[in-house]
Amino acid sequence: MMKWAKKDLEQFVKEKEYIDTLFIPLIPIHTSIDEKMTGSGFQAELTNLFSRIIEEQFRGRIVLAPDYYYIAGNAEAEVDRVNNWIDSFTEKPFSYVFLFSFDRNWRKSESDLRGELLWFPGLRHGDLQSTETQSFVKEQAKEIVEIIKESWQT
């Protein structure tokens, strides 16, 4: 998918008729407890990895929004702002909107979101370079790719 960067967005503006899908990574940040803080750093990196894979697969049809960061613990309070992001693409609204997150709290507000929530239980800790993390990412990414393809078909 296209990134939020000049060159990609120039292409988007030119090829709008083909690009009908928006992908927003929702990334919580923990700021108070040390351990959670490092953990949320890891989740953020993991999320970026997924965004990159999805970008590679679908760059001709999806726009990757900038990461949406928020203070962890209160996803419900963010619903309006997320919906605002989605609604702000007024010139040509997207037919498909995916919200990707490892934060389980979004599930409670799933029905209020104006996009399809792709929630996955992330890895709590780990090492981005380890084979374990890599196979986790590959497996999950495959699933996300399938979900996106399926939504397009219906």
């Binding site: 292409q11 090829e15 083909y18 690009i19 590679e56 697969q57 679908f58 760059r59 001709g60 049809r61 393809k149 397009w152």
Partner: protein, 165 residues
């Protein structure tokens, strides 16, 4: 012509990091230094072959192979993953196709659409290519998939530059 001596990237970065102060102090030197550095990267980037698979793994059916390359732009050095669809033709020639759709750049899959089991299919706008990578008229792509340069050495398949067609 003899090849310019290769400086590894790591070495090169070390040079530039330690040399940064010098660069700044001697602004006048900068153009000359650049001139000296430039040729270091180029021969390494062009004509670089990467070992991708054991040739025995290559069959008549296109398969995905992945490998990694280092990429350097003005700001970052990063590892990017490359992919190719590789198969052996009837006459034994090995073909390696880029999976990047020539329409808007999504990744194509072999035989992923039930209706077209013998074609590459792009999930984004239904672009299709025949097994040799040629785009099917009437679908969005307007050019064939690029092919990689191939070379076999000691039973290993090496892929080089992508060539647009």
């Amino acid at each position: 012509m003899s090849e310019p001596k290769k400086v590894s990237r790591r070495q090169f970065l070390n040079y530039t990091l330690t040399g940064l102060g010098g660069f700044m102090a001697a602004g006048m030197m900068a153009p000359m230094v650049r001139f000296a550095i430039d040729p270091v990267f180029k021969p390494a980037a062009a004509g670089d072959f990467h070992s991708v698979a054991d040739v025995k793994e290559v069959t008549n059916e296109p398969q995905r192979f992945e490998w990694e390359v280092e990429q350097v732009d003005a700001w970052y050095e990063s590892t990017i993953q490359k992919t190719a669809w590789v198969y052996r033709k009837e006459d034994d020639e090995i073909i390696a196709l880029s999976p990047i759709c020539t329409h808007l750049g999504c990744t194509v899959d072999w035989a992923s659409n039930e209706e077209y089991p013998k074609q590459f299919f792009c999930p984004c706008h239904g672009g299709r290519y025949t097994k040799d990578g040629v785009n099917v008229p009437g679908t969005p792509p307007t050019a064939p998939l690029p092919v990689f340069e191939t070379k076999v050495e000691d039973g290993m398949l090496y892929l080089g530059e992508e060539i647009a067609r």
